[in-house]
Symmetry: C2
Subunit: 260 residues, 2 copies
């Protein structure tokens, strides 16, 4: 059986469509993964303005208009092709299904938002360790005490992902990820978690804790779960997202988002 | 009297507020200029999706929500602080006033879109000629036969600006402008105008013709007048824009949009 890293995106999506529910870090190496945010059309403008005002956590890669369930980034169906979803009603998580056909409505607009998994291949190629891939876990994500710039009905905190990096490789991690501005780009913070209001790295708000080894520095990137935090705080009547770490594997290549 | 190039943005905006109507190329050198697109709120989502799908001609720098007339990029009033506006009703140009207070409504959303004037300082500093500044004219702009990717009710052609560049400096013009992706970035086309459906460089659709000298190549950049072309084609009930070449001079510095 082909290893997940070697599956083509359409093959990965077919497995998820068939019901496989797993975090996607390391899947279809070389292809871009995306966060999903689905909102009713009358909140879609607020979300796009929110994304425009908070480009580090919310880099929009594509928008599927109301009534569209496929697009240039996926030859498939956004309602079924992710491994796991979250459904929020009035900001409360009500369901974590493996497809959302039952929740779908014709007025829903889907936003595909860049994901930091995209630059992990480049980190690994450069010999920068990616601990959650090494440990076969979901990436750890934390809600910070930094506020996003609000837009319309949407407001919320910045959410970050964390990767421990050996002190001598932090500059490489910054430089390499900085070449991918469309998928969160360079870190927002290097070092002391408390400065972001994170009390305990061992207790992430989303995903799994990973080992931080002696000589390593926690490095924090803006995270595409930020829109989910805004949804939880702003309580729209309906929102559908991917489950954290369970991304859309797109047909775009990581190199499509590389800035020379 | 201070030369236009040496005026601070707020000083330039004060002159325009007082009624001065002039193209802004070369004004407040080192500060970013922006295209303005103002649409009723119920078309704002379509515009933001249009911009997201056509980032080269429509790089959104900021959005003023319905009811807002100022923002972080301008300490002033977007209804009065540009030198000249265009007002479109059902896609027809009905007015070119020097302020739009009389046309304003509370449901209007303002989009500030990047402008290629932003990288002209960098071109000039590198010794790449900018002919329309030399000749004290408005930049020449052309409607092409390339279609933008449509979004909702908005569709239209790509509009480009043109600068003649000596053959030996084309690579520098590409390299330098490419460092400013938020303000149209690298050219979309170098050379033969006919390949873009442009019949005669001497007859631009907007702005003024400039001299193309022997040994120079016409270089075409995506242009922020593209939304105006979409407005003319898509005929929304009301749209307000800047007059081509008569930009918002913002408080942001060109260097804010420089990618290292």
């Amino acid at each position: 059986m082909t290893a997940p890293a070697d599956l083509l995106p359409r093959e990965a999506r077919a497995r998820f469509r068939d019901g496989l529910a797993t975090p996607t870090a390391g899947w279809s190496r070389g292809f871009t993964q995306a966060n999903l945010v689905v909102l009713p059309r009358d909140l879609a403008l607020d979300f796009l303005v929110f994304a425009q005002r908070n480009p580090k956590p919310c880099p929009v890669l594509d928008v599927l208009e109301a009534g569209e369930v496929s697009g240039p980034l996926l030859d498939g169906d956004v309602r079924t092709d992710l491994p796991r979803y979250r459904v929020f009603v009035d900001g409360e998580l009500v369901d974590e299904p493996t497809d959302v056909a039952a929740h779908w409505r014709d007025d829903l607009v889907s936003f595909l938002v860049g994901c930091s998994f995209t630059f992990e291949s480049a980190l690994l190629e450069a010999g920068v360790p990616v601990r959650h891939v090494e440990q076969d876990r979901n990436v750890p994500m934390y809600v910070t005490d930094r506020r996003c710039r609000p837009a319309g009905a949407l407001a919320g905190p910045l959410v970050v992902s964390m990767r421990p990096v050996p002190a001598a490789r932090v500059a490489d991690a910054v430089r390499i990820s900085g070449r991918y501005p469309a998928v969160h780009g360079a870190p927002v913070h290097v070092g002391d978690p408390a400065a972001l209001g994170i009390a305990d790295l061992a207790r992430p708000d989303f995903g799994d804790a990973v080992d931080v080894r002696p000589g390593e520095v926690p490095v924090f990137w803006a995270c595409g779960v930020t829109p989910q935090a805004a949804v939880m705080e702003s309580r729209p009547p309906l929102a559908i997202t991917h489950a954290p770490g369970h991304m859309l594997v797109t047909d775009a290549r990581d190199s499509d988002y590389l800035v020379p």
